[in-house]
């Protein structure tokens, strides 16, 4: 018998029991689809976070005042005995050649008011360098001018402008921020949410003005942009050293953007794997289903198998027939599942365009490989049983 005949034999059995084949296939398809969809979601989350971080700027070192043994909480409580000052930021710029630009940040919230309309918003006190470090785009007007540290001027986010001014031109108008008058000199281009902060609702003012407004002597953060990614670690060490020298002790925490991003990515990768793994349990169940159906199929075709053996088909060939049958079932299910999973992801992207849902390549490859492997693995027992049938006994057996 030729191999083509053998394959036809296997295909005939699949066709002959259409419902049963379809059901086994559906089991695998559900498993693969859920794995693909979940890993797509995980991958989407990873891409989203990476995007958020790169929108923050590139090669950033974030300096936070305070240092504790319990480091996990440092970023949230930013009051330390020794102030992080604008002079510190200047020192970093002056003394570390690897640093291209430094932007100090003083942060607070306050009411912004224009002709009776009021909006509580985040106010960022910073310098001209902020625009380059964070890669802001300006809509109209200009940003805080270079070298200006203390002046009653402000640059507003897009949404803030539309809420306070409607369709009027805000440039040159006076607004009240926290009770003091500020002249609007620029409007930022729409930017959207960045790390949970809606950048379109932020007002930027000169850094010293900000410190005075919030009655603070310490900066919230210093952002430093390093010239090249290679110099990151060295620059980070220098930042801590320079500030330790100025403060008399090491009392700041410096984080590199990459380190923070890497932590996030690690967490997301573990989550994706865990959820994908839980979904993959259903593939095992689907495999068991295939095995069960194949066992039935072997026992139903005992006589046929006996006949095949009697005309000289080898054990290996019989084994092959049943393995191919199982593999066809499971890989067919795998393909269907892949299509369904990707389709569901597309549908999701359609409704939530901001969230990039797409299956990672490794998951697609893994899902197909696993689905074929499931078929072969769970098909092995029935196939071996078929291969080992004694031809005489098999032929003698009456069908139940």
């Amino acid at each position: 018998m030729s191999d083509v005949d053998l394959i036809r034999f296997a295909a005939g059995s699949l066709r002959g029991h259409r419902l049963r084949s379809w059901l086994s296939l559906t089991g695998v398809a559900i498993g693969v689809a859920s794995v693909i969809l979940l890993t797509s979601l995980g991958e989407g989350a990873r891409l989203y976070v990476t995007g958020e971080f790169s929108s923050l700027g590139t090669n950033l070192i974030i300096v936070i005042p305070g240092k504790t043994e319990t480091l996990g909480a440092t970023p949230f409580v930013s009051t330390a005995p020794r102030d992080l000052t604008v002079a510190d930021a200047d020192a970093l710029q002056r003394e570390i050649p690897a640093i291209r630009k430094v932007a100090p940040i003083a942060l607070g919230t306050g009411p912004i008011e224009y002709q009776g309309r009021e909006r509580e918003s985040v106010v960022v006190g910073t310098t001209h360098e902020m625009m380059e470090v964070r890669k802001f785009d300006l809509g109209v007007g200009r940003f805080i001018p270079e070298g200006v540290r203390d002046a009653p001027v402000c640059v507003l986010g897009r949404k803030l402008v539309s809420e306070l001014f409607g369709h009027r031109n805000p440039l040159g108008e006076m607004v009240r921020i926290g009770g003091a008058n500020f002249r609007v000199i620029g409007v930022l281009a729409p930017r959207g949410t960045s790390l949970g902060m809606d950048m379109d609702q932020v007002a930027e003012i000169p850094v010293e003005t900000g410190l005075r407004l919030f009655n603070r002597s310490s900066l919230f953060r210093i952002l430093a942009e390093v010239r090249s990614p290679m110099e990151m670690e060295a620059a980070k060490k220098r930042v801590v050293a320079v500030l330790a020298e100025r403060h008399g002790e090491e009392d700041v925490t410096a984080l590199t953007q990459d380190a923070v991003l890497a932590t996030f990515q690690k967490i997301l990768a573990v989550l994706t794997l865990a959820l994908g793994g839980i979904a993959a349990i259903s593939l095992t169940v689907a495999g068991i289903g295939i095995m069960n159906v194949m066992l039935v199929s072997v026992s139903e075709r005992t006589r046929e198998i006996g006949l095949l053996k009697a005309v000289g088909v080898t054990r290996g060939q019989i084994l092959g027939i049943f393995l191919v049958e199982a593999a066809v079932l499971s890989s067919g299910g795998g393909l269907a599942g892949l299509a369904a999973g990707i389709g569901a992801g597309r549908l999701l992207t359609h409704f939530v365009p901001d969230f990039p849902v797409q299956p990672p390549v490794w998951a697609v490859v893994a899902a197909l490989t696993v689905s074929i492997a499931v078929g072969i693995l769970f098909g092995l027992l029935p196939a071996r049983r078929a291969a080992r049938l004694d031809p005489v006994a098999a032929l003698m057996r009456q069908r139940a």
Binding site: K67, T70, V77, A80, E118, L275, S282, V285, G289
Partner: protein, 400 residues
């Protein structure tokens, strides 16, 4: 008697095809076991987190500065950026139903003594903090009562900090330098343990009046109200809000969080997450159900002649339906019971091997697992059973 007959028949059918039945059950077993294990983990986490939060008492209302919201009221009193102050806190003390008020200022600072230094969290609070937060003092006493606007240089250490600085020596009456200032240790707190991974015993408490200059601020990070009962929490927060808005010249520039509200939110979030994860695990249950459907379909096909005979002997379609439905249900339920045992066993083992991992199987889920597995059996058995019931006796008998 009839139920017994039906069950006996179903059992015989299941036992007659032992391998096939076991494999089918295995599908359901895996599904139920993974759902039970995952919900046990979810429930354990929920109880753990709730417990972590309630250890501070449920009668706590926290007020933090800052709020982002459009007010847009014409003629609203514009104002300065109003921080929360000690004076605000003292005013709230007069509201009926408020047992005590704890103003909080916090930050990180080095605590040193005898050449040892440790950077920890410093909480600037008042006499009533242990009462509001349900802390206990192990040795000595807490900060003395008195006007919160003044304070003596006294401090109470958390047990971890005490051990790190003094070892087994007595710390009472000793001097420590906190952020360079000299404080006398008057007490050591009882161990409270970790709060969501943060060691809250690694801290020092100082009078709020001294904490403010230490962190160079004259406002507060938080004001905690201890209320006498949670029954009137709504009217109380409304009143608090009114008073603070009035004090802040018409601005609602603060956020009030009640402990009950926060707990409810947390509870909801964790429930949703664990339900979602269990749902993903439940996909395998669906695949298992398809397995039952397939095997029952095959069984009905195989027993066509038998069914025809039964019908010829006067069995009604209803009886045949019940017979096959109960076979499917019995298969699924046995799988479910085994899966329940396996899932609970795995959860128990996990709790034993990783004691830090909170695991709890709620009784509701146990019952639910049984109901679901029974339901899965009935649902997946319906199609094959209906086919059996509708078989034409003459054709069925002739099919042999």
């Amino acid at each position: 008697v009839i139920l017994e007959d039906v069950l006996r028949h179903a059992w015989r059918a299941i036992a007659g095809n032992r391998q096939r039945s076991l494999l089918t059950m295995l599908g359901i077993l895996i599904g139920i076991a993974s759902v039970i294990l995952l919900t046990s983990l979810g429930e354990g986490t929920r109880l753990y987190v709730l417990n972590e939060f309630t250890q501070f008492g449920t009668n706590l209302v926290a007020i933090n500065p800052g709020k982002t919201e459009t007010t847009g009221m014409p003629g609203a009193m514009g104002g300065t950026v109003h921080p929360l102050t000690l004076a605000d806190a003292e005013t709230l003390r007069r509201i009926p139903g408020v047992e005590t008020v704890v103003p909080v200022v916090m930050g990180a600072a080095p605590v040193e003594t005898g050449g040892r230094t440790r950077n920890v969290f410093i909480y600037g609070v008042t006499h009533d903090a242990p009462r509001a937060w349900r802390f206990g003092v192990r040795v000595g006493r807490f900060l003395p009562e008195g006007d919160p606007r003044t304070g003596s240089p006294l401090t109470v250490l958390g047990p971890t900090l005490k051990r790190e600085l003094f070892g087994d020596r007595n710390a009472l009456g000793e001097h420590v330098r906190i952020a360079g200032e000299r404080f006398t240790v008057i007490g050591v707190m009882e161990p409270k343990g970790q709060f969501l991974g943060l060691d809250i015993d690694d801290a020092a408490y100082v009078p709020v009046a001294l904490g403010q200059p230490m962190f160079n601020r004259d406002d507060l990070q938080e004001v905690d109200l201890l209320i006498s009962s949670t029954a009137n929490v709504d009217s109380l927060t409304a009143r608090t809000k009114r008073i603070l808005i009035q004090r802040h010249h018409g601005d609602e520039d603060f956020t009030i969080t009640t402990q009950t509200e926060m707990l409810a939110t947390l509870d909801r979030v964790i429930r949703v997450v664990s339900l979602a994860v269990a749902g993903i695990g439940g996909i395998s249950l669906l695949v298992g159900a398809i397995g039952i459907l397939t095997m029952m379909w095959i069984a009905v096909n195989e027993r066509t002649a038998e069914i025809g005979l039964a019908k010829a002997l006067g069995a009604t379609p209803g009886q045949i339906l019940v017979l096959y439905l109960s076979e499917a249900a019995l298969l699924s339920l046995s799988g479910g019971i085994l899966g329940l045992a396996a899932g609970m066993g795995a959860a128990w083992l996990l709790g034993l091997l990783v004691p830090a991992l909170p695991v709890k199987t709620p009784i509701v889920y146990v019952i639910l697992a049984l109901v679901v597995s029974l339901g899965v059996g009935l649902a997946s058995g319906l199609l094959p059973a209906r086919r059996a019931a509708r078989l034409d006796p003459v054709e069925a008998l002739a099919s042999e």
